[in-house]
């Protein structure tokens, strides 16, 4: 056996690898990051100051538009009374349940459809039709069927999220590299191996693209259902505050919602960055 004189790997390969690392370092270089953070903070503070100033000089009426100070006071009141935490808990748990249920079912349906060209063809126009329907319009009907409880919220969000996952998973599963499939089959991979070790990981970037949208839409579906019929949750807080002309309460709920949405998407990006660490272009920021 003569292994001693094996030709060495081409030098160019090593350079490719190092170059990629260098590039990442430049993109996340310190001075640039710092300037971004400073500008961002300044922008937010500036906007809040302008809002407060406009109210202070009497340019706008706080009755309609409220003011940062009044919103902060209202948030504090809601926090101390415990009302805010109950609402946040309600909305977040509903949204997460809807997200998980819809995503799991959506991914499973997508993978299933990808296995059968016949059913894919049968379902394609039906899925497009359902997916184009403004499903928020179904919310009143869903509330009629499922009442004011948690089920109606989850179902409303489900109608939005399920199809996003289904369509993207299907797209990803149908785009598996033919060479990889062929090689795997020739190596003796079973149908199960092909699904779990080839189709699913290969569709993962598509699935994740859908998941980050899905999280936003879960929240949207739940909030809409809460606004329409509920006695708890941030959607209810918005609806009841608006009904009482409490604009500060509406804004307080919106601020909290924005924070939740931000936390969701940050968590999602972290998970994505880890699971798709094999992708050249994914940033884990």
């Amino acid at each position: 056996m003569s292994e001693a004189n094996l030709p060495a790997p081409e030098a160019s390969g090593a350079t490719v690898a190092t170059e990629a690392v260098v590039e990442v370092n430049i993109a996340s270089g310190d001075p640039f990051r710092r300037r971004v953070v400073i500008a961002r903070t300044a922008l937010c503070i500036g906007a809040l100051a302008a809002w407060q100033a406009a109210v202070a000089v009497g340019l706008i009426d706080p009755f309609w538009i409220s003011s940062p100070y009044l919103v902060a006071v209202e948030m504090w009141r809601l926090l101390v009374s415990g009302e805010l935490l109950t609402d946040v808990w309600m909305t977040v748990s509903e949204a997460l349940i809807a997200f998980v249920v819809s995503s799991v079912l959506g991914v499973m349906s997508g993978l299933l459809l990808a296995r059968s060209p016949f059913w894919d063809d049968v379902m394609a126009p039906i899925i497009v039709a359902l997916n184009s329907l403004p499903r928020i319009a179904l919310a009143p009907l869903i509330i009629l069927w499922f009442g004011v409880g948690i089920t109606a919220k989850v179902v409303t969000a489900f109608t939005l999220v399920y199809f996003i996952l289904l369509v993207n998973t299907l797209g990803g599963a149908k785009n598996v590299d033919n060479d990889i499939m062929t090689i795997a089959q020739l190596m003796g991979a079973s149908k199960r191996d092909l699904l779990w070790k080839i189709t699913l990981p290969s569709a993962l970037p598509w699935i994740f693209a859908a998941l980050s949208i899905a999280l936003t839409y879960s929240l949207l579906g739940v909030i809409v259902a809460e606004i329409l019929a509920s006695n708890q949750g941030l959607g209810y807080l918005i609806a009841s505050s608006a009904g009482n002309f409490n604009t500060a309460g509406v804004f307080a709920a919106l601020v909290v919602l924005a924070a939740i949405a931000w936390a969701f998407s940050t968590a999602m990006r972290k998970i994505e960055g880890w699971l798709l660490r094999w992708k050249p272009s994914v940033s884990s920021a």
Partner: protein, 259 residues
Amino acid sequence: MPEPKIRLVNIGITFRPRDREAVVAVQNVSLAVEEGSIVTIVGPSGCGKSTILNAVSGLLTPSSGYAEIGGQRVSGIRHDVGYMFARDGMMPWRTALRNVEFGLEVRKIANRRDVARDWLRRVGLEKFEDHYRHELSQGMRQRVAVARTFAIDPDVLLMDEPFGALDSQTRLLLQELFLTVWESTRKTVLFVTHDLHEAIFLSDVVVVFTNRPGRVKSVIPIDLPRPRVPPAELATATEFRDIYARIWGDLRDEVRVFE
């Protein structure tokens, strides 16, 4: 005379696309590959070279005739063949090591990690086992493919222009690497290329195919001693140039049809 490892018997393959005319890709091809030898098919583009490999692997059922591996008629996808293309077919979501492991994994082989690591070392990539596809050069990806193909210890190797997408220097290195690895395992190889130099360097027998429909035009034994001298040196040898001239003489008329 021992039974050949791979046998093609009167294979004909006709493609019938739905709204176009039927295309006869391959006609009446009979061919034998002795156990432990490398046989290379050369021919003009579109002469059905790759189609032949697909028939041997069972990816495709011939319209007439049949293929045999080890005296057994091919029907349905074979799991005892190693297959390599010009494209590396690496799974981008797996590291180099886990790519080599894949075949062993689906065959439920226990010490797969060790086997895979050993093969990566043999193709000179021991320092790159944790690298993903995008972190490897073309040549390195093809090295992974070589390791992956040999790791499952297949009876037969089917190579479809495996080094065709590489730059010419890398290709010389990979041809040499492949032959070194092959010398240590002596698998039966059916190879397809349009690179005559590669065909002569690697093979025991070169089979020249005609223009479409592909038929066997000539069978040329390559009586160069093994282990072969590196391809770059081989190119200057007199025997090499004689063989080259003979193959090119047969091939030229087939290629010319397109010009």
